[in-house]
């Protein structure tokens, strides 16, 4: 839906946004949209950017690539926005990028694929940035953890969609570096009701640990099934399960599951020395007050994107190239997903330290010792 927040002509800054607030990626896109709406309201109440009100023009691409492309065109051609945030999922971001690059508009994607900033076909990414840790970063964190625990023979299970396969690719790419080996690799459907058929094979392979790479709903089913089959190996999962609903869905079975996650999940458990703690707590508080539930890492990506952009506009004014170079020169920006250090070659600016390992204990997310 198109939403117009405040702003009556004249001195305003138009920011375009595209989220997958409905459709398949809605669990990701909805908190993103809500976060940005909340932030725009906050900033405008405090006078906007340099006295100029922010006008947010947000579209819902319904998790559909064509909708995303059309919405991007609309933002560029019709709404004449200064910059664009969004593209909840990688496919949609990737489909939008060519025209955004052509039009020359600063763009911050919220999706994870590294293709968004480092395309394998070498096409231009002058204007494109992103705020989500790529799967390469998450996998490295996870592999580091496995290495530390000396769980080197693992079972790899991923959900059969873009999220799952991209995780799998990174895993295959980095595992040797950490001395980790998959004794079995399997895929399961996002709509899985019963994964025991697949898990019997896993049980036979006798891994030291099982990695389940999926989002909350399907991972919960698999996790429950692992426990039901009485497989004793520890379970390590992806950052995609970092929501309350995973714990609800998996129930008892969720306990003891490990996974890498952004700090937002365990904000209050962080040591006071953590540079992000204050920012995290503030976001958490604000979001909970506005929407009545805890913020997600995805909302966090949107928070980062908005602030990065707002700061760049503060610095560079409404001129596009100036905003872009301000973005590229971001240093030590303390955000939700981590501390950002952008550069010409790194349009993400995050590394594995932006993540922590979390374990579920008694139905709670608990920060594992570093």
């Amino acid at each position: 839906g198109k939403t117009t927040t405040s702003g009556n002509g004249g001195d305003e800054i138009k920011i375009g946004a595209i989220f997958s607030a409905s459709g398949g990626a809605a669990p990701l896109g909805k908190p993103e949209m809500e976060t940005v709406k909340m932030l725009v309201k906050q900033w405008n109440e405090q006078g906007g950017i340099d006295g100029k009100k922010i006008k947010l023009i947000a579209y819902d691409d319904k998790s559909d690539q064509n909708e995303a492309v059309l919405s991007a065109k609309k933002l560029i051609e019709q709404d004449n926005v200064t910059a664009i945030i969004g593209g909840t999922i990688s496919g949609n971001s990737l489909a939008m990028i060519p025209q955004i690059e052509k039009a020359g508009i600063p763009y911050i994607s919220l999706a994870a694929s590294k293709q968004i900033v480092n395309p394998s076909d070498g096409s231009s990414r002058h204007w494109t940035f992103k705020t989500a840790q790529g799967d390469n970063i998450v996998i490295q964190k996870l592999l580091g953890f496995l290495k530390e625990k000396r769980w080197l023979n693992v079972a790899w299970l991923n959900v059969a969609n873009a999220y799952g396969t991209s995780g799998h690719e990174e895993f295959v790419h980095y595992a040797p570096e950490y001395g980790v080996k998959a004794v079995i690799e399997e895929e399961f459907e996002a709509t899985v009701d019963d994964a025991k058929a697949m898990l019997t094979k896993v049980k036979k392979a006798n891994p030291q640990a099982i990695i389940v790479w999926g989002t909350a709903q399907e991972s919960a089913v698999v996790t429950k099934n692992i426990r039901q089959l009485g497989i004793a190996a520890p379970i390590v999962e992806s950052h995609g399960i970092g929501t309350k609903s995973f714990i609800d869905l998996a129930g008892e079975a969720a306990n003891d599951v490990w996974f890498p996650a952004g700090r937002i999940l365990v904000a209050d458990q962080l040591p006071d020395s953590d540079p992000q703690k204050e920012t995290l707590l503030k976001y958490k508080q604000d979001f909970e007050k506005a929407y009545g539930y805890a913020p997600t890492t995805f909302g966090g990506h949107a928070w980062d994107a908005f602030h990065l952009l707002a700061n760049a506009i503060k610095e560079g004014g409404t001129e596009k190239e100036k905003i872009r170079s301000a973005l590229e020169n971001t240093r030590k920006f303390i955000g939700i997903s981590g501390v950002f250090h952008m550069s010409k070659d790194d349009h993400t600016g995050l590394d594995a330290d932006s993540l922590v390992m979390v374990q579920i204990q008694d139905g709670k997310f608990v920060l594992a010792e570093q």
């Binding site: 909805k30 709509t191 009701d193 025991k196 058929a197 709903q217 089913v221 609903s245 609800d248």
Partner: protein, 293 residues
């Protein structure tokens, strides 16, 4: 022995999944055999049933009552859907009716999204989290419930269609609505009843599944699709065949996943289904159709 227990495990998995498809497939069959409509919103009844039940349970309504209430609520929605969307379009071509049900499915999904948001919800199992062990394989109690309920619904339906007078009248409605009217069969009432009943069955299916796989606003689509396939493989107007079809699809998927690759699971089951269709074009369990020149 190892191989044996894997086999049994796969069998259990297949039965679990199959029973879920079966419950929804029965809904398809009822609607189709009374109205001649393939109701692609059938899966969404499951979704609505599950989410209603979750909400009621969370609000402290006793479990059994919550189940009953959600089924009744979804039946009411089904009835409303029939009156507002199906009845006025009775005379449209089949394809149009199918698309109308798709449209209705959008509406249901959109409303669910509005009310319940995007998060998946959990529902507690009917009888404890325990599992049953046999031959070195495990099956959750909830799966046993699913299987029992699907078989019970089937038995009830079978009796209804083949042993009761009304059952025959119901069948007559789709075979020749014009003649059915002349026999004094109230097609509109039949169609209302059928869709409400299949909505109720759908809701029951959703409630049974929710403890196994969770409940979310978008769960209807995939369940609906698979159940649709199950129903067609069996033969659309034939309840026992649809049940058999559902278990067949469930087992096929489970064994394909266990013994072959899981990535191609869908393609394998669909592919085999195509073969079945090609060699038995009216479904596996087709009877004489009564068509000639």
């Amino acid at each position: 022995m190892e191989a044996w227990s894997q086999f049994v495990q796969l069998l259990f998995s297949g039965l679990t999944v199959g029973s879920i498809y079966a419950l929804v497939a029965l809904g398809f069959v009822i609607t189709y055999s009374v109205t001649g409509i393939l109701n692609l919103a059938q899966g969404d009844f499951a979704m609505l049933g599950a989410l209603f039940c979750v909400t009621l349970v969370n609000d402290g309504v006793p479990f059994v009552l919550a189940i009953g209430l959600s089924i009744v609520a979804v039946m009411a929605i089904g009835a409303l859907f029939e009156r507002l969307a199906i009845q006025p379009a009775r005379r449209s071509p089949v394809a149009v009716l199918i698309i109308i049900t798709i449209g209705a499915s959008f509406v249901f999904r959109g409303i669910a999204l509005l009310v319940w948001g995007t998060n998946p919800y959990a529902l507690r199992p009917f009888t404890g989290h325990g599992a049953l062990e046999a031959f070195g394989a495990v099956i959750q109690w909830q799966s046993v419930w699913a299987i029992i309920l699907s078989l019970a619904s089937f038995a009830a339906l079978h009796l209804f269609f083949h042993r009761t007078y009304i059952g025959k009248a119901v069948a007559a409605c789709v075979i020749n609505p014009f003649a059915a009217r002349l026999m004094g069969i109230d097609i509109r009432k039949m169609s209302l009843g059928a869709i409400a009943a299949s909505a109720g069955l759908g809701a029951l299916a959703g409630i049974v599944i929710a403890p196994i796989s969770g409940a979310s606003y978008d769960m209807g689509m995939m369940i609906g699709l698979k159940a649709f396939i199950a129903a067609v493989v069996g033969g659309l107007t034939n309840a026992p065949a649809a049940i058999a079809g559902a278990f067949l699809v469930g087992l096929l998927e489970s064994f394909a996943e266990g013994y072959l690759s899981s990535g191609y699971k869908e393609a394998i089951s669909f592919g085999l289904l195509l073969l079945v269709l090609f060699f038995m074009p009216n479904g596996l369990f087709a009877k004489m159709t009564g068509k000639r020149v």
